[in-house]
């Protein structure tokens, strides 16, 4: 348990660092959302109105320190402020509206890609020297392809040319978001293509990573021993080799969740998916500090939580870490 306590301490420290960085970055950078707004209105806003707007957006001239304290205070109350892009909508509302889509699409697709990728990696390592090795060059290529490029190509082929799948948004125009079969069906149908791209693009890494660890593990004495014991291949492959090979991958899985959310920006842009990635880009484009901060914070904390869960999983899966716990 001391191990977990130590990790918890580390996560708190990291969370604090993320929160503070989050506070600092927008403030250290040039520019001002109101100026942008004015620019986008092509000067149609009279300068006299600008100060009033600044005030309304909560841009203050207080000292950085004071702003920091206010910011921490607001955070403690769960207040993320109002978005400027969607003024006067609360940032928390924007996030609450968009996060489920990201988690639903990107999260589930990533999970699937992890599961399939891991399984494929295990099997490919096991069947080394067979035709399955032919998958390797393809995986290597997929691992290096720009994600959005694949996505766009798929959109073009399956969405535009063949018109098998819808190419944008999260559900059809003719259904309203409600708990109905029709809506669910529409959501699934719309998620199909983006999900497939995510799975395709992120699976390659997983296959290659898993295969490498697995191949190394397969050379371990306990795997040879398991084989010698006359166990079935399935049992040797999964309980002995894969079970051990997966361990080093747990942490990297958790860490890669950060990339997931990051990668989701591109997915969501390509597929016009109403998730948190689209919102982040919008926030950046509009210098919407509160929105950016809120989203960035949510992402960082999610990654931290995922890492903590990964640590827990590690403790559960690897008895060697439990030793310390008395």
């Amino acid at each position: 348990m001391r191990f977990l306590a130590r990790r918890l301490g580390f996560y708190l420290l990291t969370a604090w660092a993320a929160i503070t960085l989050n506070f600092l970055i927008p403030r250290l950078m040039p520019g001002d959302p109101v100026e942008l707004l004015v620019a986008r209105m092509k000067g149609n806003v009279d300068p006299a109105a600008i100060d009033a707007m600044r005030r309304a957006f909560g841009i203050s001239d207080a000292s950085l320190w004071q702003q920091y304290l206010n910011y921490l205070g607001n955070l403690a109350h769960g207040e993320l402020g109002r978005s400027i892009t969607f003024f006067p909508t609360e940032v928390s509302t924007v996030i609450a509206d968009s996060l489920p889509w990201t988690v639903g699409l990107v999260g589930v697709a990533t999970l699937i890609s992890y599961l399939i990728g891991t399984a494929l990696g295990v099997i490919m390592a096991w069947k080394r020297g067979t035709w399955l090795d032919g998958v390797l060059p393809a995986a290597t290529f997929m691992h290096a392809v720009p994600y959005f490029w694949v996505a766009l190509a798929l959109v073009f082929v399956f969405g535009v040319t063949l018109q098998w799948f819808p190419v944008s948004r999260a559900y059809g125009l003719d259904v309203m978001p409600e708990l109905s079969g029709e809506f669910a069906q529409s959501v699934l149908y719309h998620a199909a293509l983006p999900a497939v791209t995510i799975v395709l693009a992120s699976m390659a890494d997983r296959i290659l990573g898993m295969r490498n660890v697995m191949v190394t593990t397969l050379g371990e004495d306990y795997v040879v021993m398991a084989e010698a014991k006359g166990l079935t291949s399935r049992r040797v492959m999964w309980s002995y080799a894969a079970r051990n090979a997966i361990l080093p991958n747990i942490t990297s899985f958790a860490l890669s969740l950060g990339f997931v959310v990051g990668g989701s920006v591109l997915t969501e842009i390509v597929f016009s998916y109403p998730g948190i990635g689209s919102m982040l880009l919008k926030g950046v484009e509009n210098e919407d500090f509160p929105l950016m901060q809120g989203i960035f914070l949510v992402i960082s904390l999610a990654v931290l939580v995922a890492n903590f869960l990964a640590d827990l999983a590690y403790v559960v899966l690897d008895p060697r870490t439990r030793q310390e716990s008395e």
Binding site: R2, F3, A5, R6, R7, T321, E324
Partner: protein
Amino acid sequence: MNILEGRDLTKHFTAARGPRGRFGKRPPVRAVEDVSIALRAGAVTALVGESGCGKSTVARLLAQVYPPTSGEVLLRGEPVRAHRGAAFREYRRQVQLIFQDPFASLNPFHRVRYHLARPLRLHGHARTDAEEREQVAELLERVSLTPVEQFMDKMPHELSGGQRQRVAIARALAVRPVALIADEPVSMLDVSIRLGVLRLLEGLARENDLALLYITHDIASARYFAEDITVMYAGRLIESGPSEELTQSPRHPYTRLLLESAPDPDRVAAPEGRRHGEPPSLIDPPGGCRFHPRCPVALPVCSTEVPGRTELGEGHWTHCWQAEATLAR
């Protein structure tokens, strides 16, 4: 004349982290406790004990790789205090270490010549390239790696284990030390080539009047190559004496067990089949004599008091309540 001496050396490893590096603090490992050992010029002293008993730790304490928790190291009777700077470098020049694994002790990225030239340059024995070359050649010749021209430019992976160990020995000699600590120098080598390396070491010690500490878990080889043998158990010394005397008439029950257990086709009767249990943990070692849980002849006092040194004459001594008792009788 004692060249190098350790007095009451104790080493506790604390706050060390395991290879995972992500766990909480560990309790201290009491690796070495009250070890006193002395090396004489031109003589080979052996330190024998089972794996994990602290032999390497003693070696590293003597070589000042890390400082002792308590106790001191004396070079020619002078306590060594410096841990950095010129004085420390001078100490390094006098005392050299040879490692167990010849595959790990040479940097795979440097040629043989680099390994030998660096210490020569560092300690100012060679100042020009020509001097360097000459001395490297001479060193290689001393460890019988001939033709030297050929070996000078080889990479470590081009050498066999025995050859690598010779390079390692040559490197230690390059600084012209007065004391050499060889930590299991042959245990990673094949039986057939062990002899050559051991003979080389022995010869070098004799010729150059080096003080040599030979660390091994093979008590039979200690008998052959060392004048004196010191036996260690779980971080403490338990018996020491001239090698012939110690191997033929051991006094400490552990030494006896060690000798009995060593495989020996010449043995007349097979040793009794009783189980001896496992070596103790150094984190929470048994009180009193650390051997008492496994000792067939333990006395009640053995579990409470650490036995003192019992002199048995002719440099033979032991830490054992039984010996004490026998002597007292």
